[in-house]
Symmetry: C2
Subunit: 387 residues, 2 copies
């Protein structure tokens, strides 16, 4: 009985949505230029600021996380400027694509998929090349399950007085992200991951140093829709966005952020971290290798290397037919890994079911490890957790 | 993070509802005396007849399954008449309570909780007491996880020319139930179990022999709301019900029955049976005893005996806090068993998660069996299944 609507989304986004968010989104729509909607909009921005522990600007676009990434580069970087793109996965690579798309020079710092970005290597690059104006990183590399040391990199980039532009698409709302304290200059995220809302909203936090850079640019801003100055001006004056807001998604985001603080921010992050530990224990318990360097495991997504003889497509199809949707690999690890999320409303129940189903499918496909060992290890990890 | 709306309902009803049923129920309401609604109503009755493989009358009440049980006794039995109430659980016992509430004489045939009703014992009772006018049984005893041999009892009751009144509340839609072929005279069910709709609809199938008994009763019908003659007359003339229909629930039932035939009737029953086998393998694998006689295992609900030292309340609370709601025991087995369902949209994923979570909680509470053994046994059963 394969049924899309009965499938547990264990892909790293979109993730399962809380029924209260669906209900918030099913309320009757309203005018996006009304005082009432502006109140909702401002409350939502306030909740995002609370989440990020910031008083600086948070702007929203009807668009995906990639739109927010584009807004970051298009506004803060000018054609011809040099940007250090630290790449250790498919999503950090996107920064490079956007950098060059807008006529800037990309200085690549490539790290093997599964390894973390190196603060030391960033320091060396900045020390040896004064023309680098900004650094891009992906905080949580969704393609590899690596959590990059964003805080450490932030300190270095600040020391060298460059801009740090961070993709927090799969970390914001699921792990700690403090753009002020960690010396970010721009941080972007999307609605459909740990923020627990369907896709369609891009979020961008802009710090004072980024504004200074944006406000003093020599060449005209190459964007119209994603113009941050216009967005800030509109928000500061009216509490909404320059172009039509995705009203329904905003109702959803407002509710999802409300839910987060009802659960408790610390509790929520700890749940994500615990689910990460249980997930990894499960996979390691069935004798599998994880892609990520153990020192930099993501708390929101785990990537697992296929054992020999298992075909990606057949494997994921069978898992899907048993009611769980999981993701494959991208770029150089396509066909070599699969990925499962532990985001938003995910609980131990979902993780245990996923591990158990995956074990059954691996066994069916001939993987020669005692069945049950993965669930057992996950259960033992649960027993170790202090909750 | 305990959250009612994120909890998997593994109690034996209400059970999880398909999102399409929720959506069907969220459509704008309409007048219950319109041609349009009567079309929906008649289609719904048609789908129920298809499910029961019958052309005889299926009537609906806004009310629970118990209302349908009351309709059966109140209409078909007269005060002073004798009814053989075969009791092997809390729900078959309800027939006795209703029998006496309407002034009929109850002849009890009590069977230990966990055992099945005995066709031979029914034969003996009917052979030795010609004054017994009807027999009541519960097809699937939700309180014990026993599937009673309704077909065999049906043959005997027909041989002795008495009426057989059957509670099919947790079997209809989840296991085979053929009221015509199996010689039932009245069959009742409710919306919130294997029919996959929220509580609030009572369904009653009435065969020709029961109508004959109803139509020739000497004393006035003691009910007003649950009058079957009135219900049939109204349905035959207008295709709706004599009193206000639960319009929203009917939209839900129409959609849920549509879903059943989309999945396939045989496929649906086989899924329930398979989930029953996997559930039982899991519990037995962790060294637990099931309440039911193995020859009469229910395919929609399983009852498990608590091992020594585990307290019902504490156990079920901890399981609930891990996102799974399960049921305790009732009557003489209260505090001695717990019960989990495998009904409606339940899948292997839900069963495996339930077994895994239950193992963790039993271990936390000091149950001394190697953790993981239950999930392992459930996984091994999955591997044996031919799907």
């Amino acid at each position: 009985m394969y049924d899309e609507e009965l499938t547990t989304l264990m892909i790293p986004g979109p993730v399962p949505i809380h029924p209260r968010v669906y209900r918030a989104m099913s309320r009757v729509i309203y005018g996006h230029r009304t005082k009432e909607y502006q109140t909702t909009y401002k409350e939502t921005v306030g909740l995002l600021q609370r989440l990020l522990q910031t008083e600086q600007d948070v702007l929203l676009f009807a668009g995906s996380g990639t739109a927010a990434m584009e807004a970051a580069i298009a506004n803060a970087i000018e054609p011809g400027e040099k940007v250090l793109n630290v790449i250790n996965g498919k999503f950090s690579e996107r920064w490079q694509e956007i950098t060059t798309a807008f006529g800037a020079k990309s200085e690549l710092q490539e790290v093997t998929y599964g390894q973390a970005a190196s603060p030391e290597a960033v320091r060396e690059a900045l020390a040896s090349d004064a023309s680098i104006r900004a650094v891009t990183i992906c905080h949580n590399e969704t393609s590899t399950g690596v959590l990059n040391p964003a805080k450490e990199i932030g300190q270095i980039v600040r020391d060298y007085d460059r801009l740090l532009i961070v993709d927090g698409i799969t970390s914001v709302g699921g792990d700690y992200v403090y753009p002020d304290k960690w010396n970010f200059d721009i941080l972007v995220t999307g609605s459909q991951k740990c923020l627990g809302v369907p896709p369609g909203l891009g979020v961008i936090w802009v710090g004072s140093r980024a504004w200074k850079k944006i406000d003093t640019r020599k060449q005209p801003n190459p964007t119209y829709y994603l113009d941050l100055v216009k967005a800030k001006k509109r928000y500061d004056s009216f509490g909404d966005s320059p172009f039509t807001s995705a009203v329904t998604l905003m109702y959803g985001l407002h509710e999802s952020l409300t839910l987060m603080f009802e659960e408790g921010y610390e509790q929520r992050i700890e749940r994500h971290r615990r689910l990460g530990r249980i997930t990894r224990a499960g996979y390691l318990g069935m004798g599998l290798d994880l892609l990520a360097d153990p020192a930099f495991y993501s708390n929101t997504v785990t990537a697992v290397r296929y054992p020999g003889g298992i075909t990606d497509k057949e494997f994921r199809n069978q898992v899907r037919n048993l009611g769980i949707l999981i993701a494959g690999g991208q770029g150089p690890v396509k066909g070599k890994i699969w990925r499962t999320n532990h985001m938003n409303i995910c609980t131990e129940r979902d993780v245990l079911a996923t591990i158990a189903i995956i074990e059954v499918v691996l066994k069916r496909l001939g993987y020669d490890v005692p069945i049950g060992s993965g669930v057992l290890a996950a259960q033992e990890q649960m027993l170790k957790e202090s909750y």
